[in-house]
Structure formats: structure tokens, C-alpha cells
């Protein structure tokens, strides 16, 4: 969505600190994520980019020793507030992981699970529609329409990942978080996911963590570079890859790191 030619801010992280026990993993992160854009988070292993991603749908809650401080404002609401309904939050903010992780159920059930628990369909027909639309949006429908009642785990890796994306979008999330969604896929499956990301950004805001510089450059409009728990630089992807402000960013993306 644009207002006066400027993209609206969908998510705003303010002074976010994260601790695992006594160890601090993120230091005072301030980052604004633009709506209907793809934001790539890059940085070396252990830099905190996945930790930050998990802050955005309170996934860190499941780690006992993890303590998140600061504000993460989505739609004018701080999701770190006590009153935040985490189940509703995760309906609005979907997630796709590094390894495709379909449920050990049929393709149909993989997609219908979310809409069922969120009560999004009133009839079998409505559910059928949700399943079909989700699979179509994930560019998987044509390949699987005749085998919807076979197990999801029987698909190829790339298809499984698209199934997971279909599952994520079935509940119509506003934001989709992707943690290295292509690292287990071959180049063709990767290209299909990247094409999909491009399509999905029309209706969703996407944040992707990736180790592939080339992928970040290809799919995103904005890029944030994390290093040792700090957000070193954040800006338009073409600026970051053509002329970054910070030397650390430059050294990292050009392969000169330490």
C-alpha cells in the first residue's frame, strides 16, 4: 500500500533487546518493515536475524530462557503487550521454515488445518475453495489437484515447501515470515519460490531470512544487515548491494568477512 508514493510501515520494531538467559542476542534493534514489500534479513550465522524474525510472531515464547524486550508494533498494536492474543497474532503472521515441514496428513488436511481451527469456513464447499485458492496462490494447484488426499510428505522438496507456503497463506495472514525457505531446494524449485514471493507481496508483507546474497538481491526491495546481534544497516536493496553505507555491510556482501 502506498501513501503519497511512500510505502506504509507495516511493522515497527523499537528498541528490541533479546536475551537467551544471560546472553544478549539482539541489541537495541530499530527497524521498520514496509507494507507489501519483501524485506530480506542477511548476516552471518548467529548474527540474530532468525531471532529477530521469531520476535515478529512471538515464536521466541516457546523458548523458556528467551526474554524479549522493547516494542514490536504491528497495525498500531504492540505485540509484546500482555494482552496480545498469540493465536490470533500467528493467524495474522504466518511462517515458513527452512526445512519443508508438512503435517503427516493429506495435502487437503495440511491446508484446511489452519482455517478449521480459526473457524474460517462454514461449509465443506467453502473449505474446498480455501484449499484450492491457497494451492493456486502457492503455484502448486496444477501439480497436485488430482492427489489432494494423498500424504503431503509424498511430494518433492520444492513442492512440500510450496505446500507449506499454501498452508501459511490459507489463513490469509497479513505478514509472512520466511526463514531460509529455499536452502534445502534445488535451483528450479528455488526460482519457483522466488517467483511466488514476488506474487505474494501484492497481498502480503514478506520478511525473509536468507544466507544467499544473490537471493536477497533478487527477491527483496529492502534489506537489513545484522552482525553480532546488531542491525548494522537497513535500506533499499539496490543501495545495499550497489553502494552500502557501512564498511561491515560491504565486507560481508562482497565476501571479505573476517
Amino acid at each position: 500500500m502506498k501513501k503519497n508514493g511512500v510505502n506504509m510501515i507495516k511493522i515497527s520494531a523499537k528498541n528490541v533487546d533479546v536475551f537467551y538467559g544471560k546472553k544478549q542476542a539482539l541489541f537495541n534493534i530499530n527497524l521498520e518493515i514496509e507494507e507489501n514489500q519483501v524485506t530480506a534479513l542477511i548476516g552471518p550465522s548467529g548474527c540474530g536475524k532468525s531471532t529477530f524474525l521469531r520476535c515478529l510472531n512471538r515464536m521466541n515464547d516457546v523458548i523458556d530462557i528467551c526474554n524479549v524486550q522493547g516494542e514490536i508494533v504491528i497495525n498500531d498494536f504492540n505485540i509484546n503487550d500482555k494482552g496480545c492474543d498469540v493465536v490470533r497474532l500467528r493467524e495474522k503472521i504466518g511462517m515458513v521454515f527452512q526445512k519443508p515441514n508438512p503435517f503427516p496428513k493429506t495435502l487437503y488436511e495440511n491446508i484446511s488445518y489452519g482455517p478449521t481451527i480459526h473457524g474460517m469456513a462454514q461449509s465443506k464447499q467453502e473449505m474446498d475453495e480455501i484449499v484450492e485458492t491457497s494451492l493456486k496462490k502457492a503455484a502448486l494447484w496444477e501439480e497436485v489437484k488430482d492427489r489432494l488426499h494423498e500424504p503431503g510428505t509424498g511430494l518433492s522438496g520444492g513442492q512440500q515447501q510450496r505446500l507449506c507456503i499454501a498452508r501459511a497463506i490459507s489463513v490469509q495472514p497479513e505478514v509472512i515470515l520466511m526463514d531460509e525457505p529455499c536452502s534445502a531446494l534445488d535451483p528450479i524449485a528455488t526460482a519457483q519460490i522466488e517467483e511466488l514471493i514476488d506474487e505474494l507481496k501484492k497481498e502480503h508483507t514478506i520478511i525473509i531470512v536468507t544466507h544467499s546474497m544473490a537471493q536477497a538481491a533478487r527477491v527483496s526491495q529492502n534489506t537489513g544487515f545484522f552482525h553480532l546481534g546488531e542491525l548494522i544497516e537497513h535500506g533499499s536493496t539496490d543501495k545495499i548491494f550497489k553502494n552500502p553505507e557501512n564498511n561491515k555491510t560491504q565486507d560481508y556482501i562482497t565476501g571479505r568477512f573476517g
Binding site: I240, K242, N243, Q250, I253, T254, G255, R256, F257
Partner: protein, 235 residues
């Protein structure tokens, strides 16, 4: 280039080799221009022939640099400063190649010129060419030092070359009008003057590339321009 070196050594070496080839090619062009100017001002055919012969060497540099750039893009996918190094190398090499061609063309014309050129014409030519040679040297230094301020200096000085070119052209036109028998030499000298000015323009292009290489931004503003079509007396 960045101060830190690449984790992958062969990548670092490839970028350095590209850089060195640009400098070598630049030095070859500097030599070609120097010799071409000596040849025309001192009526020295030997130097002119060397320039003509050596142009092939400059052309080969261009091909080599182009291959290196294509390889870097295909195999290394350079980013940020490396990307700018790679892209500007390609553009600078094509400007240098043109400079080589123009020096060669000056030399070919030198061989066709009469032995005795009027002193004032030679002096006018020397004034333009000395300036252009300085510019070319400065732009190569700017590349070597990765200095955007030196590049800006070169860019700004182009205006002066354009003015000197105009003055030189006027002298040549005067000479042409003096006598019909001056037609051949005068025409060659017009082209020579124009060639020298074009070398100045390519030097300015290189300055713009160096600015982009160092700053990551394009040099803003109108290019300094002194040249208006020459008007000479009667119409």
C-alpha cells in the same frame, strides 16, 4: 578496492588483475598520445608509425578486460564496490580503446602532412594537446588513487580544452583560407584537432566513471561545455 581482502583468494586476484590491466592499458594510451603529439609537432614519421603499430596492443587489452569482466559477472556475481570495480573497468576500457584509435588516426594523418607546417599552427596544437595529455595523466592517477576529487578536477578542466580547441580550429581555418594549396593539410589538421578534443572527452568520461566507482553515485550537474560550433568571419 576495499581494504579488507576477499575470503576467496582467487576472486581477490581476479579483481586485482583487472585493475592492473586497466592501468597498463591506460599507460599504453598515454604513450600513444605522447608519441602521436611528438610525431605531428616534430614531423617525426617513426613515432607516428610506432603509434599505428601499437594500437593493436591497446585493442587486445580491451578484449582481455572485457573477458575478465564477463567472467567476474558470470562466476563471482560481484556486489557493492566489487560490482562498481567490474562495471567501471568495462566502461573505462572502451573509452581507452577509443583514445588509442584517435591517437592512431592522428598518426596516420601525420604521415600525410606536408613537412613544413606554419609555426603558429603547431603552437596552437601543442597548447591543446599538452592540456589533454595532462588530463589523461591525471585521470589515470585518479583511478590509481581511487580519488573522486581528482576525477572531479579532470572533469571540470575539460572546459578549458574545449576553448583551446576552438582557438586551434580558428587558426586552422584561417590557414585554409589563405591559399587553395593549404586544403589538404588544413583538412587533416582540422581532424587532428578534433581528435585531440575527443580524447579529452573520453578522458572526461573516465573521470565520471571513477567518480561513480569511488562514491557509488553519479557525478551530478551539466558537463562543462565550451564548444559551440565555430563561426569564422564572413558568412
Amino acid at each position: 578496492m576495499s581494504e579488507a581482502t576477499h575470503t576467496v583468494k582467487s576472486y581477490e586476484e581476479e579483481l586485482q588483475s583487472l585493475n592492473k590491466n586497466i592501468i597498463k592499458m591506460g599507460v599504453s594510451c598515454e604513450e600513444a598520445l605522447g608519441k602521436a603529439i611528438i610525431a605531428i609537432t616534430t614531423r617525426d614519421s617513426e613515432n607516428a608509425e610506432t603509434v599505428i603499430k601499437n594500437d593493436e596492443k591497446i585493442d587486445k587489452f580491451e578484449t582481455l578486460i572485457e573477458q575478465q569482466v564477463v567472467n567476474l559477472i558470470a562466476l563471482r556475481q560481484p556486489m557493492a564496490i566489487d560490482l562498481r570495480e567490474t562495471v567501471t573497468a568495462l566502461k573505462i576500457s572502451s573509452d581507452l580503446e577509443r583514445i588509442g584509435d584517435l591517437a592512431k588516426n592522428i598518426s596516420k594523418r601525420t604521415l600525410l602532412l606536408n613537412e613544413n607546417l606554419p609555426k603558429n599552427l603547431v603552437e596552437a596544437l601543442v597548447r591543446v594537446s599538452t592540456n589533454v595529455q595532462k588530463q589523461l595523466k591525471s585521470v589515470l592517477d585518479a583511478y590509481l588513487d581511487r580519488s573522486s576529487s581528482m576525477a572531479v578536477n579532470v572533469w571540470e578542466n575539460d572546459e578549458q580544452i574545449d576553448e583551446l580547441t576552438n582557438l586551434c580550429m580558428q587558426e586552422v581555418i584561417k590557414y585554409l583560407k589563405e591559399h587553395e594549396s593549404n586544403l589538404d593539410d588544413g583538412t587533416h589538421l582540422l581532424f587532428v584537432t578534433k581528435n585531440i578534443e575527443r580524447i579529452g572527452d573520453h578522458t572526461t568520461n573516465i573521470a565520471e566513471q571513477i567518480y561513480y566507482l569511488v562514491e557509488g553515485e553519479y557525478l551530478e550537474g551539466d558537463r562543462p561545455k565550451g564548444t559551440e560550433p565555430i563561426v569564422t568571419g564572413e558568412k
